[in-house]
């Protein structure tokens, strides 16, 4: 949240209808407005079916908007038919909500190398990329590169899926519910690895999640989506200071924040809305010692 860079993704009043003109038509987006600045971590939250996955698929051109609204990624209008979306997809890496849907090669190593190969990199560079990507997500290169993708556990599949996208070395990494299905410690580890990716390698993160504790601990700014529209946005602290509004959109607040709200009800206001256990601990010490 330090100095804001330039806008890398800009979405204006975006609309999208799946299977338009057929009996199966679904109006998924009805006016989404948001922006992502270079180098920040943006959280997107919203109840099931709100349209989060639909939004992020616009960011790398898997869905091109033909209806109302505008999506500009790294200076390119995504609706422009002459735009070569492959260059965008290399800059904006998307990790799908269901990782098993993202793996299609037989061996883990081949799968992660798919992107670099399509980019036309020479074999040695590809190998280095794969090694780096696997290290970034915490997979042992030697141990995993020759494993069959379909024999992996759900959590390992997620890591391989993320590595496969990281191997493109994107500027923006979009994680769509990428920590569900991993044990608590694995989640924490993955989160800190992603945080490291952001801080050390300057990768912009877009983090879609339904786990409020996670979003609170990692996101600089948050957008709340409901029924295909942007309904709230602000810093994590601003958003989680309004539990009643969030509840209206079917969402909760992080556990530590609940504690703070309860303390405030009992006449012990906290100096700020805590987002992590560490923050809450610090503030409570301050209150106790004063």
């Amino acid at each position: 949240m330090d100095t804001r860079g330039r806008v890398i993704i800009q979405v204006n009043d975006l609309h999208h209808t799946y299977l338009s003109g057929t009996p199966l038509e679904v109006k998924a987006l009805k006016g989404v407005t948001m922006e992502v600045y270079e180098g920040e971590i943006v959280g997107i939250i919203g109840r099931t079916g709100a349209g989060k996955s639909t939004i992020v698929q616009h960011f790398n051109g898997l869905i091109r908007n033909r209806e109302r609204g505008r999506v500009v990624v790294d200076g390119h209008d995504m609706a422009d038919p002459s735009l070569d979306v492959r260059t965008i997809r290399q800059k904006v890496g998307l990790v799908f909500q269901h990782p098993e849907q993202q793996l299609f090669e037989r061996l883990v190593g081949d799968d992660i190398a798919f992107g670099p190969k399509k980019m036309g990199l020479p074999p040695e560079v590809r190998r280095e990329r794969v090694r780096w990507a696997m290290e970034m997500v915490g997979l042992d290169f030697e141990k995993f590169k020759d494993r069959f993708t379909f024999s992996l556990s759900g959590g390992e599949m997620r890591k391989v899926a993320i590595a496969g996208v990281l191997a493109l070395q994107p500027k923006v990494l979009i994680l769509d519910e990428s920590t569900t299905g991993i044990d608590p410690r694995g989640r924490k580890e993955l989160l800190s690895r992603m945080l490291n990716l952001n801080r050390e390698h300057g990768v912009t993160l877009v983090f879609v999640s339904s786990n409020m504790d996670e979003v609170a601990s990692i996101a600089d700014r948050i957008y709340v989506i409901d029924d295909g529209r942007t309904v709230m946005h602000g810093t994590a602290r601003e958003i989680f200071a309004q539990p009643e509004v969030l509840r209206r959109y079917g969402l909760g607040v992080p556990h530590v924040t609940t504690v703070a709200h309860r303390l405030a009800q009992d006449g012990i206001p906290m100096p700020r809305v805590p987002l992590t256990v560490a923050e809450a601990e610090e503030d409570i010490w301050k209150i106790l010692s004063s």
Binding site: T22, L24, L62, F96, F104, F114, K118, G164
Partner: protein, 285 residues
């Protein structure tokens, strides 16, 4: 511009809820009607006969309330193939079929290729026959749930069970196959999106650039098959887990009884079919 919405083009195997008269027909009646019309379809080579039959099919579609445009969109993926077949018929079948109800006329000839009024008629009639079958099958699957189709096939095969025809199994295989068509379309969309998001290119290559498109398809088909096998295994497991033991001795919660409408529909279709068959050699063209 690439578009990954395959489901848009899958009209066969997709059920649409509705309350039209066609929806409410007994599934056995619908299958009987389908069979009658398919038999008629295979005998009619004249323009007039096919116009009548096609009108009949269109009338059924209109009665069902299913969007006509949507149904036609199901043909789009097969269009290149249809065009190729049509061209082959047009150029190479010139002498194979004498035209129905007309004097043979040759418009153009070059080596083994020729265009005659016979081949032109063949192309048009083939297209109409294709449309008739396509409408009938789409109509059946879009107005009847797979469970009901299975029920109908099974109950219609019952008399043959004494001849050791595995009625239940046949109907099961049929319905699973139908059910899997839209699933494959969805899966195809997912795999293409996965590859595209990592740099694969599906954008270029118009509908008629076969080599390019075929090469792209190959990279999709392997994962698609792997997925199909996995799904099949899951299905087996799920059936086992629910103690599915196959046909014999199973009872049904819902039993259908043919109503007057069902019989009326069958009778109408039968009369229509017989009339066309009887007069099929008396149509002017």
């Amino acid at each position: 511009m690439e578009n990954f919405e395959f489901l848009r083009n899958v009209t066969i195997g997709q059920y649409f809820q509705g309350d039209s008269i066609i929806h409410r027909l007994d599934p056995r009646a619908k299958i009987t009607i389908l069979l009658i019309l398919v038999v008629v379809n295979s005998f009619i080579l004249s323009f007039t006969g096919n116009v009548l039959l096609l009108s009949w099919c269109i009338a059924l579609v209109l009665l069902s309330g299913i969007s006509f445009r949507f149904m036609l969109s199901g043909i789009k993926p097969a269009l290149p193939l249809i065009v190729i077949f049509a061209l082959m018929q047009l150029f190479f079948y010139g002498d194979a079929y004498p035209p129905y109800g007309m004097e043979s006329v040759t418009y153009w000839r070059w080596g083994i290729m020729s265009i005659t009024n016979g081949s032109i008629q063949l192309v048009i009639v083939t297209l109409m026959r294709f449309l008739e079958i396509f409408f009938l099958v789409s109509l059946l699957t879009s107005t009847t749930t797979t469970t009901n189709i299975a029920y109908a096939i099974e109950s219609m095969l019952e008399p043959f069970q004494r001849l050791r025809v595995p009625a239940q199994e046949i109907s099961l295989i049929g319905t699973i196959a139908l059910r899997f068509v839209p699933i494959f379309a969805e899966q195809m969309e997912i795999i293409m999106k996965a590859q595209a998001s990592r740099g694969a290119d599906f954008g270029e290559g118009g509908v008629f650039q076969f080599v390019k498109r075929t090469r792209q398809m190959v990279t999709l088909i392997v994962p698609l098959f792997v997925d199909a096998f996995r799904r099949a295994e899951d299905l087996i497991l799920a059936m086992d887990a629910r103690c599915y033991t196959g046909g014999r001795g199973r009872t049904k919660i819902v039993r259908f009884h043919m109503q007057r409408v069902d019989l009326l529909f069958i009778a109408f279709t039968a009369v229509f079919g017989v009339l066309i068959m009887v007069f099929r050699n008396h149509f002017p063209i």
